[in-house]
Symmetry: D2
Subunit: 347 residues, 4 copies
């Protein structure tokens, strides 16, 4: 089968012909319908410091997809050939302390398919049955392909109370934009977004923000404080990983508020812990992956009831062969999701 | 001033002329714009067993209203003449154990204005300043008049997670209908309502239910189980107080689910604790009043952002003089809210 | 091997010779060191209505034990021969909605070993590897044999806040007694127990109760209210399943309190929902099984640090052959735990 | 009356003769029995940057005390002359968003007695009645004098689950030491403390730590990871405010763990948010003041049941006149609490 692979510890990738994965008794083989590119894939393609430390070529990468089950291992009873599925690509160990404490999403021995083992930029992908998620038939195919990052957004937004609360989303990349849609669907009050890129600010408004602010222009902190009677927002969802956004975000957070951090800063960040966290009695949550599988249940319900309009997020759809174009587009700062169709063109 | 008063321990009420309340240093006097009738007022009017045990005539009753501040006590600094307000009419003591534990809504020494002391079916009403709630100018006057019962609904719905979860509302009286609107605004998944009255089922659909089921026809329990893949609903909001609704509601609740009970059963209820609560690992919450003042904050945000369409709930608007007509209408099974305008006709 | 089996749908049991269980690839075989008798086993032995509806003879019963791993299936990597283990005998399905929502302890397709499949009253028992729990070497063998019921107690006590709170335990059978020890270890304030049996009241005091009250003598409700400045207890742990204990327990619960119900009433119970739950704003939790595996982690820590003295709970230790004596003793009202030693006498 | 006052914006303080405070209708006047010195008082005495920005001389400082009610304002009904009391010295406004959201301990308009208005280093102190806390007669006088800082410790420890969990306390100053006692009383598992000062490490062991580690010697991070099977601690209680302790503390925290920060860093702190918070899915809580009044209730119960042995904390007891000696002692690095007796010598 065709597979997009990292063959050497350097920039780039190669389309290779490899064998279809063989199944263990509890595995599932899915024929990939659509696969979506994550920022992480861009790092792997570009080969940055993180990639060099984590990725062991050769590797088929890619971890966002939907597809149809081709066959299942001997002991698999809950998934059948023909099922339309996606998957939680974080495979947890089940016996470390976080797993035992009901927090498998921060398993200490996690293996991520597409990072630590072969992923979905291929015609077929192998997944342990318990990580396979059947997609509700009411959910459109291209939405099913991005449930992994959408799950990040759902996890972040629903990690605390949200209905009737004022919310700030810092950073309007794909997951930030999804978070806006989710927070809106969950009944948030005023939703502020901050984002330096004008096009993304436009998208933020389309996704449901009340105000999309440019933090490089004027005093956004004062603006948001004024707009909230001096209190600040109840909830801050950090989606940028940018130190400046983090600093300003904390200044806009009200005492007693929640800050949920998903964005990945490149370097350590200087925090004014006293004023931004301690005296505020704030709750700061690190968000990683998706709750297994609370997030998947909630996300499925929101999608199948049509509560989320994600259309503005989708950009190019292309065959796997055009991977260099795809990564170039993304490196140029293209927001939005690009979909590969490894088994044929998108209809 | 005019005041609708319970003068004697028997059915009925009288429109009386009484003095305008005098203010203590921490009190506020409001000129009532609109007052709304609660089911409790109907009990007081009709003089049932509960009323006989709790109400000490003479008493000006009524506890749902909005109005304009006429004057304030010497030590009141946060409320001013001219403010448009409503109020939390449960006056808590501040020093019992529930008050000290952050649960003033279940204060052991609560005094409810309109029940334990004079209320708002009058031209003027006196309220302790800390119980007065300034109404956001974006909130329509007739909505402001029903924030007390709407707060019951908001408290019930938001007493646990709701976004992305399947919900059952048992009973579509005014608060049940409000709960449907709130659950919908907060991003619930499928929303089932059960209600024997056909008109109320229609209202339930208008408020946002996906299905309004008649529990007297067919097997609603099986229907809801089938519609939820055999699981049952994640959340049950009990708004009827009817034993049959409670029984069926618990049968429709999934293991690990939440049942929030607001409806007031007349008598003790036989519960199958083993199968409905214990083996299910269910969480059952008694809901009383409104969180002080979390509920008021969340409700204000939902209202001011226009997330709740409550128009279908409103029925007659009448001068205070027509109180007998109002209570007759309600006793006839009229759902919906009736508003009094003690200081002149509604526009 | 020897196994104590239910062979026919009637009272009694038989010691049989059966084959040692064969292992699937993810199973573990343990040689039983000590097995403990649960109230449920007594029901199975006596063959009551519940047993008749649930148990399908022939069945090796028993679900509380500790033992040494004899061998493991081909795919088992985390458990080895020679490990000293016990097990969570509730085998969850992993794909129903409660399982997906992080609540496997209320799995809708649970299979309980010793009830729905062969259990541990035998020389050997087969367990799926993910249900096996390695016992910390600091935990005494006889404590390891009762981690299943102790887990019920830990689950109940730690299902909400407990430190610095006043607690009522209704019913001082084995799990009630364990709950007393756990609540005390977790820093509860005053601990009241109610129990009709004088011997058990004595045990309750030994386990750490401040007062062990006889609910058949005097007004225990008033006594507890008086002792808590009229407030009532913050937390009620219901361990009796007796309607009278439940009624009185709710009357002793303060507004805003938590009632965690583990005891199994034989029949539906009449509850004064209005006064005991709704107006109180109480939280009522059904408790079933053990959190998988939060409860096991917490319990292990409490045991290995010697925070729980459970010695007063232990009674007879006998070979499996003496099963009729054991069940007779328990039927006579004997509190405390009886241990079987299927592979030889206790030292 | 005598009062220890900050008279000028510079180092030092003066014992002055001032009038006894006059009472408003809702105030209480207490005759101070014992007052305790907080680190904050040391800052005010020494006049650091924070003091210069916050304190407006002249001011009677001091905010930890116990005493006897001398008289009460006209509207005070719940406190009487002769009551033995202490007080929550953070006076919240009641109408900002945090106050309205049930978080008065992070009120945006808080006034702290002893910082923003006259405090308790005097013969008498005036307190609003709702901030006065009656001391249970079972609580020793010198313990009552330090309920303010003890409340910080109780708030921190009980801000999340603690029973059966492994805990790290970074910093063994007075509040860190109290936190050790509280965590132990609440049933924590292994308790590690880190502290550079040898004397304080000794005290940490006396208060109940299992290990008191010197972070300047060897690799404490690796040591704690090894001691927790590689997982790290479940809960980190940061009591030092020192960047190094914070860094190491986060490295010792397990994925999914809780970090509760009370210590006040002098400067912003560089945090490795990705590895220490985000990828770990950690929950970081800023802790400020005491929950009003949940913390006071829990603390009272723990004290009155004798669950906390705080004796090792107490050092000198002296008349108010010896204030220079007291501050010198503390500036010399003396751990432990010093008590003033403004109305006469300690017995």
């Amino acid at each position: 089968m065709k597979a997009l692979r990292k063959m050497r510890p350097q920039r780039g990738a190669q389309l290779e012909s490899v064998g279809i994965p063989t199944l263990g008794p509890t595995d599932v083989l899915a024929r990939v319908r659509a696969a979506s590119i994550c920022g992480t894939d861009l790092h792997i393609y570009g080969w940055d410091r993180w990639s060099a430390s984590r990725i062991h070529p050769p590797l088929t990468f890619g971890h966002e997809f939907c597809g149809v089950v081709e066959k299942v291992g001997d002991e698999v009873t809950t998934i059948r050939s023909g099922d339309f599925v996606t998957a939680e690509m974080h495979v947890n160990c089940g016996h470390c302390r976080p797993c035992r404490m009901g927090q498998p999403h921060v398993c200490q021995n996690v293996k991520i398919l597409g990072i630590d083992a072969d992923g979905c930029f291929a015609e077929f992908v192998r997944i342990p049955a318990r990580n396979v998620w059947k997609v509700d038939p009411a959910i459109p195919e291209h939405y099913a392909a991005i449930m992994d990052p959408l799950g990040n957004a759902v996890h972040t937004v629903l990690a605390g109370e949200i209905a009737g609360l004022n919310v700030l989303v810092t950073g309007a990349g794909p997951i930030g934009l999804m978070a806006i849609a989710v927070a809106r669907a969950a009944g948030c009050a005023t939703l502020f977004a901050t984002e330096v890129n004008a096009h993304r600010r436009e998208l933020a408004m389309k996704m449901g923000a009340d105000e999309a602010l440019d933090p490089s222009q004027g005093d956004v902190v004062q603006h948001v404080l004024d707009a909230t009677d001096g209190a600040g927002v109840d909830v801050m969802l950090e989606m940028s990983g940018h130190p400046d956004a983090i600093h300003k975000g904390f200044q806009m957070l009200r005492p007693g508020g929640r800050a949920s951090l998903l964005g990945i800063p490149k370097d350590p960040v200087m925090l004014d812990l006293v004023n931004d966290v301690i005296f505020k009695g704030a709750t700061v949550q690190g968000i990683y992956g998706r709750r297994m599988f609370e997030t998947w249940v909630q996300m499925t319900e929101l999608l199948k009831h049509g509560r989320l309009n994600l259309e503005p997020l989708f950009k190019e759809r292309m065959p796997l062969e055009k991977f260099d174009d795809a990564f170039s587009l993304l490196e140029s700062g293209q927001a939005g999701k690009i979909l590969f169709y490894p088994n044929g063109s998108a209809k």
